[in-house]
């Protein structure tokens, strides 16, 4: 069923009795050509682009819980491509471009709102680094503007312009095409598009072991039985190390909890995304009115998908420094997802080292913005067995060659 003004009107006239489920819930077959482990944004996007752009036969997505129940449903929905190195910009700008056409491509409103993003600079030396970032972004063909304090004040008057501010605002790096999207809709839209193209999406199907025969990955043991496949792709974010371990592979990844917060709904106070590296906090406001607040990683490695108080205090202290007017606003919810952090804060896309098993992981704290590109490039890898030019720099072999894409150090961006 195509969603349109006409289908909405038709269903309104017949009391919404004709809507069909957006995807099937099939029983798993014994064998597929390609299995994707992980029914989050990256896994579902991979299935969608595999079915749409490549001719690979039967495809299944295996999800241990429900679709988008991991980090896809736990992030702060920011989409941006304000990176430093050409390799990163090529990757995240591909994602941005795919996001810009995604609602139309999927016939599903992912509510990508290009409301812009401010990265605040709080001193003259920070302004010099901000100018360098803007120049790097422009050289890489991405929109970027260096704003002075008055420009920042016009865009976001709720920010802290008081004389006694601990971090006075000297200006900002502004990317106007950045923004926010509806995270669940991204997962659901890709799921619906993949299902329409014949992909079997199997929920409540946990992978318990990876079958390796003669050094080649041949399938998986799941809570719904053995499923064999020609090629297997893992897109399981914070649990990538645990999954790779099943195939005897160790990864350059450490898993941490990343927390996020949403406040009670307010009247509109900010219509852009504001990030202060000094305060260690960023926030935006959802269409419903809640402030969506995020910050840095927890400092204790963890697989526990829940929040805790030390980082809550740090992030909310930063919020109050950034926007003192919201100090009395009450929190509505607070949660954590488990993110897979690499030594260079860049993702891993490539072969795992075991034939037949491929990895899409290591996105750390920035996986949501990369969903379309991650899916597009991982589909190319799974279909052809070789890298797309944009994913080549993100192969695991960079840790041996030393050709790291060290975005954490380069762009000063909390991932």
């Amino acid at each position: 069923m195509t969603y349109s003004a006409f289908s909405l009107l038709r269903e309104a006239l017949r009391n919404h009795t004709g809507w069909k489920p957006a995807w099937r819930s099939p029983k798993p077959r014994a064998e597929y050509d390609v299995i994707i482990i992980g029914g989050g944004g990256h896994g579902l996007a991979t299935a969608y682009y595999l079915a749409k752009n490549h001719n690979v036969g039967r495809i299944a997505v295996l999800e241990k819980g429900w679709l988008g129940g991991g980090n896809t449903g736990r992030n702060t929905t920011v989409i941006r491509s304000n990176y430093f190195y050409p390799e990163s910009v090529a990757l995240y700008e591909l994602s941005m471009k795919l996001y810009e056409g995604l609602s139309r491509d999927l016939n599903y409103n992912v509510m990508f709102s290009q409301r812009g993003m401010l990265i605040l600079a709080h001193s003259q030396p920070e302004m010099e680094i901000a100018a360098r970032t803007v120049n790097a972004m422009r050289l890489n063909g991405v929109d970027a503007d260096l704003l002075g304090p008055e420009d920042v004040r016009k865009r976001a008057p709720v920010l802290n312009f008081r004389d006694d501010a601990r971090y006075p605002i000297h200006g900002a790096v502004f990317q106007g095409r950045a923004g926010t999207g509806r995270h669940d809709a991204v997962a659901w839209g890709y799921a619906r598009g993949a299902d329409q193209r014949g992909v079997d999406i199997i929920q409540n199907c946990e992978v318990l072991d990876v079958i390796v025969e003669g050094g080649v990955c041949k399938g998986v043991e799941t809570s719904k039985g053995t499923i064999r496949a020609g090629r297997i792709g893992a897109a399981v974010a914070g649990h990538s190390s645990a999954l790779a371990q099943m195939a005897g592979v160790s990864l350059p990844i450490q898993s941490y909890a990343l927390q996020a917060f949403v406040s009670e709904p307010l009247k509109p106070v900010i219509d852009t995304v504001a990030f202060s590296p000094s305060a260690g906090t960023y926030f935006s406001q959802s269409d419903k009115g809640g402030l969506v607040i995020g910050g840095g990683l927890d400092r204790v490695p963890s697989y526990g998908q829940r929040g805790n108080l030390p980082m809550q205090e740090a992030v909310l202290s930063g919020l109050i420094e950034m926007a003192p007017a919201v100090a009395k606003v009450k929190l509505l919810r607070h949660w954590a997802g488990i993110v897979d952090v690499t030594p260079d804060s860049s993702p891993v896309i490539g072969p795992s080292g075991v034939d037949g098993l491929f990895l899409n992981c290591g996105w750390g704290t920035g996986g949501f913005k990369a969903i379309p590109a991650g899916g597009y490039l991982f589909a190319h890898l799974l279909a052809t067995g070789t890298h797309h030019a944009i994913s080549r720099p993100f192969d695991l072999d960079r840790f041996r060659s030393g050709y790291l894409v060290d975005e954490g150090a380069a762009s000063g961006i909390a991932h």
Partner: protein, 88 residues
């Protein structure tokens, strides 16, 4: 706020502690030629175990370095091991 046990100071707030890495890694012998793969393994590869982990931690205020055993899912502390040879 969780508390971790410092062998020198006793139970202290988790914010005072610094995670240094997994325990048991041995630095390559640099008196011989070390392959890129061995360096990469030492520098970057992590067990990142889901469940019981054994890690090197530092209690920043007193600079005591020690081994902490804990559960990476429940976050429970399972044990602490001193590394200093002259125990106080």
């Amino acid at each position: 706020m969780q508390q971790f046990p410092c062998p020198f100071c006793g139970l202290r707030n988790e914010q005072e502690f610094h995670f240094a890495g997994e325990a048991g890694k041995i630095r390559p012998d640099t008196t011989r030629k070390v392959s890129a793969a061995d360096w990469a393994d030492y520098l970057y590869t992590q067990k990142n175990t889901m469940g019981e982990v054994r890690e090197v931690w530092m209690h920043s205020p007193c600079a005591e370095i020690f081994i902490l055993r804990r559960d990476s899912v429940s976050m429970a502390v399972l044990g602490v091991e001193q590394l200093r040879k002259n125990k106080p």
